[in-house]
């Protein structure tokens, strides 16, 4: 091996402390921008509430916990939409696929499975999810096949899908609402029982911190073994502290949101616990849908950045012809991308129908627009080739924060639509300006 190689960004012009800090820590400035925007939105809504309505409801454990649960369904789908948009396609059908799969899962667990397994069987929820995910993947794969092997533009295929699956969701149950869903299944939608509580939340948080430290240490070891430039130690420490601090802050926040008094009383009676005068403080902690979103986010990030498949997704987005000439089976990869998207729509269908404790044929209506907006606000380029999973999840959080915030301060639905639409266009414009500058 040769001598250690200097950093590949070569000559370093004299830089401000901020630029120096960013270079040393290698923090993505886009990410900072998005977090900055998010913080602004949160503080803005809180202050507006505090000043105009006399009560700032936004920055409370209760609202932020709800926000995390409400973001889950869109966030799960947005991670798949990144793959679709990166390869220069679009999927307009995700909201309808969500609705159809949720409806099919509703029928499957309420009408079909109990006949064979008996009502309340512990197998019902898991079989239902497996069924739903497979159904979603098949729907996605079929649409992907039409796009890749039959050459129909994805816009048209999924526009058709938008109508077909919404109609199919109505037809399978003749428009009925399927309710209530299986008891265990409904926990996946969150709520007091659908959360992991204080201890569980601390365990998840500590695992996350250990994971962050492991990534930093192993990343450093790998760079050293290949003699690449290392981050200065202080930058590693700052990154580790920031990461773990954020995780622990989130743990404290979610643990600060107690169960409502009624549920506590019910729970205490059921488990014959005495409730003291001052009331019993039982924390929500992370809700299951949030854990699902985090898990999906981690898996999809690994898929996108560490696997061959992910590399091919980016290569196809950057130059489809070059990808084909490099021996990549572009069509088959396209089918897989749409299958993943369909599966994630079904998973979002699990969360959404569990949260409502029912499957309705209107579930997921207009979700496709929020999902696409989340991915695009999160920095996924419609020209293809660029996009990140964490960006899309943050984008979903931004969209949901806007929606929730406007509800909290009492804007009516019409104004909400105007604002959300305007923000989408503005966010993409800012993104274009940013890219132009960084080129």
């Amino acid at each position: 091996m040769s001598d250690p190689i200097p950093p590949s960004n070569g000559q370093t012009p004299p830089a401000s402390p901020v630029a120096k800090f960013l270079r040393a820590t290698e923090i993505d400035t886009r990410l900072l921008g998005m977090i900055g925007a998010l913080v602004l939105i949160w503080i803005g809504f809180h202050l507006y509430g505090a000043l105009v309505n006399g009560f700032g409801a936004f920055l409370t454990p209760r609202n932020l916990w709800n926000l995390s649960v409400q973001t889950s369904s869109i966030g799960i789908m947005a991670t798949g939409m990144v793959l679709v948009i990166v390869t220069r396609h679009i999927d307009l059908s995700v909201g309808s696929v969500l609705g159809f799969t949720a409806m099919a899962m509703g029928l499957f667990q309420v009408r079909f499975l109990p006949e064979y397994l008996g009502l309340g069987s512990p197998l019902i929820w898991i079989l239902t999810i497996v069924f739903g995910l497979i159904l979603g993947a098949l729907i996605g794969a079929f649409q992907g096949w039409l796009v890749a092997y039959r050459g129909i533009p994805a816009f048209i295929v999924t526009l058709g899908g938008l109508l077909v699956w919404r109609g199919a969701a109505f037809l399978v149950a003749r428009g009925e609402t399927i309710s209530p869903v299986d008891e265990r299944f409904s926990l996946l939608g969150g709520g007091p029982y659908g959360s992991i509580g204080a201890t569980g939340t601390w365990i998840v948080g500590l695992i996350a911190c250990a994971g962050i430290i492991y990534l930093l240490v192993s990343g450093r070891a790998s760079r050293r073994s290949h003699m690449f430039a290392l981050r200065p130690i202080w930058a590693e420490v700052v990154l580790g502290t920031l990461g773990c601090g954020l995780v622990i802050g989130t743990v404290l926040l979610f643990n600060a949101y107690p169960w409502p008094r009624g549920i506590v009383r019910q729970y205490a009676e059921a488990n014959s616990i005495d409730v003291p005068e001052t009331g019993l403080f039982i924390s929500h902690g992370f809700a299951f849908p949030v854990l699902i979103l985090i898990t999906v986010g981690i898996i999809m990030t690994i898929v996108m950045t560490r696997t061959r498949f992910g590399r091919y997704v980016f290569a196809i987005g950057g130059n489809p012809e070059a990808a084909e000439l490099s021996g990549i089976n572009v069509r088959w990869v396209t089918v897989k991308i749409f299958a993943i998207m369909g599966m994630l729509a079904a998973l979002a269908g699990v969360v959404a129908s569990a949260r409502l404790n029912s499957a309705t044929n209107a579930l997921g209506t207009l979700d496709e627009l929020y999902v696409i907006a989340a991915a695009v606000i999160g920095g996924t380029s419609l020209a293809g080739g660029i996009g990140t999973i964490y960006g899309a999840i943050l984008g979903a959080l931004v969209m949901q924060s806007l929606k929730t915030g406007m509800v909290l301060i009492g804007f009516d639905a019409a104004i909400q639509q105007v604002v959300v639409g305007g923000v989408l266009v503005l966010a993409v414009y800012l993104d274009i300006l940013y890219r132009r500058k960084s080129n």
């Binding site: 590949s8 290949h226 696997t307 950057g318 070059a322 021996g327």
Partner: protein
């Protein structure tokens, strides 16, 4: 070079391919021996690139056969071509602009960790090694290739072909986008690869480059082969008249 005793590395026999009634390649046969550079010349639209894409797997010929080392080869797609150690450097360079040099070099053939993940660190280390040999001035390893100059992009494309021990190399106007210094670099590289025993098809417009680099030259016009000549037997005027008039020079024919 009529004294070849060995079997040719590549033989394209009687290749035809038509697009919507237009015969882009019309019963053309060419061959290539180890350690040899064969130039393919002709006007734009003469069928050179189309012919060679049948070998690289980008197109499938309508009729005719490809023989590699005397054995019939079935090449349906670029993956098949690679399995015969055929590497292609396309005129358009065929790089994914949004990926860095290492990802492009290993595209479709990523190095994998025992866990089954892409080994980015090892890929970059390997890329640094081969670039140190091909183009020592290359330093932008972490930038997407769209940030690179034409010459740097060309070295990525060439590195990709060289790294995987190609035995048959197809170069489609490799110097079209390059400055004089970089052109010289490519010329030296071709000489080195030739010494290593590779066979190279060189698609070129520049007759002088063909005279300098090639052993034989095959000229095409309107999809048909005008003829194949030993470069040392002819002048550049002879080749020019083959390209323009579509006639074999008298003394060779």
């Amino acid at each position: 070079m009529t004294q070849h005793a060995q079997t040719p590395l590549v033989e394209l026999r009687d290749i035809s391919i038509a697009f919507g009634g237009i015969k882009a390649v019309d019963h053309v046969s060419v061959d290539l021996y180890p350690g040899e550079v064969v130039g393919l010349l002709g006007h734009n639209g003469a069928g050179k690139s189309t012919l060679i894409k049948c070998l690289s797997g980008a197109y499938k010929q309508d009729s005719g056969d490809v023989y590699i080392n005397g054995e019939k080869a079935v090449i349906n797609n670029p993956r098949d071509a690679r399995s015969y150690n055929i590497e292609t450097i396309y005129q358009t360079l065929a790089l994914a602009d949004n990926l860095d040099a290492a990802s492009n070099l290993f595209l479709g053939r990523e190095l994998i960790t025992p866990m089954g993940f892409v080994d980015d660190a090892r890929q970059e280390a390997e890329t640094r090694k081969i670039m140190a040999r091909l183009n020592p001035n290359f330093t932008k390893f972490s930038a997407p290739v769209k940030a690179l100059s034409g010459g740097q992009r060309q070295s990525v494309a060439i590195a990709r072909a060289v790294y995987f021990n190609a035995r048959i190399l197809i170069m489609d106007e490799p110097t079209a986008a390059l400055g004089p210094q970089e052109t010289q670099m490519v010329a030296e590289l071709i000489q080195e690869l030739k010494r290593q025993g590779l066979g190279i098809f060189l698609i070129e417009h520049d007759v002088q480059a063909v005279m300098d680099l090639c052993d034989r030259a095959s000229v095409m016009k309107n999809g048909q082969l005008v003829g194949t000549v030993d470069v040392k037997d002819v002048t550049d005027d002879d080749i020019l008249s083959m390209i323009i008039l579509g006639k074999q020079p008298a003394k060779v024919a």
